[in-house]
């Protein structure tokens, strides 16, 4: 029997889609029965009271959460997001309902043992409700009380060899795609770079000192399975410098129908015979492909790594051999200007241990952003305010054509003295040889 009547929430269950209300009710029921005899360390009716407070919020048309406050365990400035209810007498189970962010493994590979341990901790010391995974990619444990924070932290770090993720004005939990572990398109070991930079920047992850949040994401190739280009302040996207490798026999096999396009992914419906002209060549955004004497040709200098042809014909076309990554900066800054995609900062950089070149760029960007960024200003907003040229000079690079998105719309050019041959001084005698007074 439910503790609170929730007619408004019940209505949400009526749609054809899965409902979070049904999930919370299920967990409330499970906690009431407690068939496994878990020694609950927070009120066992936490899920009932969560439904109750949500119902009240819907009824009142206002929130009953107080947000913010405590931020973590000893020595950490992030990883815990404090949440308190403003009707603790009515809903004692959610008087405290803090969120804990936990670092997810690179590529989100889990053992069932790990998941079991995590759920056991959370059943006992939290609400049992999780969000796998949060928008940043981390494991989100929803709802516990203040005294449980250190206990959970101890168990996560000592028994599970894991760590809290990021929250607040710090480096957020970095996320990577599956990378080389499963994907032949990976141009670098995204999981390894994600792990190494996470370890290198522990201080930035746990001790907030940035103007606002900062996200890293690692995509092994331009397919962008973690969508780093759209949602990270600094995205690392695998690419290659040389030519796409072509296996002409396999191209012929795709044309002849022996090989299924897209790895057979669209086989649920009869789309007709594969038409390379229509489905690949005509769709190339830079029109850099053609068939000549029965062979597929690519003008690689024009290729923008859109990946479409490689995705359609994975057996015939493969990524080049001279691989590295591109660094883009400034995606996702929704407060000021709406969502924006990352801008290219470094067209190509090799990914080689100990990754010093990459670290230098990261630290130079941080230095600039911490110095110039306003409070609560994302990197992308700073770039909009001061211009990409400032970001480029912050890393000590010179602008290249890839940095230009469109012809300039500002007619004024401000030269720096050091950029002008001879500076601001001129040899007047030399000038007078050609120009009268």
């Amino acid at each position: 029997m439910a503790k609170h009547a929730t007619p408004l929430l019940d209505q949400l269950e009526s749609g054809p889609w899965p409902s979070f209300v049904a999930d919370i009710k299920e967990e409330a029921e499970r906690r009431r029965k407690n068939e496994k005899n878990v020694e609950y360390q927070i009120p066992s009716d936490v899920c009932d009271d969560l439904l109750g407070i949500l119902e009240l919020s819907y009824k009142d048309g206002t929130t009953h959460w107080k947000h913010g406050g405590i931020v973590g365990v000893f020595g950490y400035g992030g990883g815990v997001i404090g949440r308190y209810c403003d009707q603790p007498q009515m809903f004692p189970g959610v008087a405290h309902f803090h969120t804990i962010r936990v670092a997810q493994p690179a590529g989100m590979y889990y053992t069932s043992d790990f998941l079991r341990q995590l759920c056991d901790i959370w059943d006992m010391r939290g609400s049992g409700l999780t969000n796998m995974h949060g928008a940043t990619g981390d494991i989100v444990l929803l709802g516990t009380t203040t005294p449980q924070l250190e206990e959970i932290f101890f168990e996560l770090t000592h028994n599970m060899n894991n760590d809290l993720g990021g929250s607040g004005s710090n480096l957020r939990t970095p996320a990577s795609c599956l990378g080389e572990s499963r994907c032949e398109w990976a141009c670098y070991d995204a999981q390894e770079l994600c792990y190494q930079l996470t370890m290198e920047y522990q201080d930035e992850l746990h001790r907030p000192a940035f103007p606002y949040k900062f996200k890293f994401k690692f995509d092994g190739c331009p397919n962008g399975c973690v969508a780093s280009i759209a949602r990270s302040d600094m995205s690392f996207i695998g690419t290659w410098k040389d030519d796409i490798r072509i296996d002409q026999e396999a191209v012929a096999a795709y044309i002849g129908g022996e090989l299924k396009p897209n790895g057979g992914a669209h086989s649920g419906k009869d789309w007709g015979a594969f038409d390379i002209q229509k489905e690949v060549i005509d769709l190339c955004p830079t029109e850099c492909m053609w068939i000549e004497d029965g062979k597929l040709k690519i003008n690689n200098r024009e290729c923008t790594r859109c990946m479409h042809c490689l995705n359609v014909m994975p057996r015939a076309l493969r990524i080049g051999n001279d691989r590295g990554l591109s660094i883009l900066v400034g995606a996702k800054a929704p407060i000021l200007d709406g969502a924006q995609m990352g801008s290219l900062l470094v067209p190509f950089i090799k990914v080689e241990e100990p990754y010093d070149e990459i670290k230098e760029i990261i630290e130079a960007i941080w230095e600039w952003w911490m110095e110039e960024g306003k409070n609560r200003e994302r990197l992308g907003e700073l770039i909009k305010r001061q211009g990409l040229a400032k970001a480029i000079s912050a890393i000590g690079a010179t602008p290249v054509p890839q940095h230009v998105m469109e012809p300039r719309h500002n007619p004024y050019i401000f030269w720096k003295e050091e950029d002008v041959p001879g500076g601001w001084q001129r040899e007047i005698a030399e000038y007078r040889k050609h120009h009268q007074r």
Binding site: G68, G69, G72, N170, P211, Y212, W366, M370, N375
Partner: protein, 78 residues
Amino acid sequence: MADPKDIVVEFIKSKEKSKSKFYFNDLSALFPDMKMREAKKIINQLVADGVLEYWSSGSTTMYGLPGSGKQASAEGED
């Protein structure tokens, strides 16, 4: 150079009447000769020593003296 702890505490106390929580920028500005990431080390040490306390909304983190700045007192509900 004076003890960083004194500089920070004195600054925060001087603003006590209007503000109880500070952005990192407000505090790092007290050490103008230092690079930001060096100032970060000092300020974090003050947190570790219990001189300062973090406060976070979840998206933004601020710093203040421990226990200061309850919303209730700002709204006369003490």
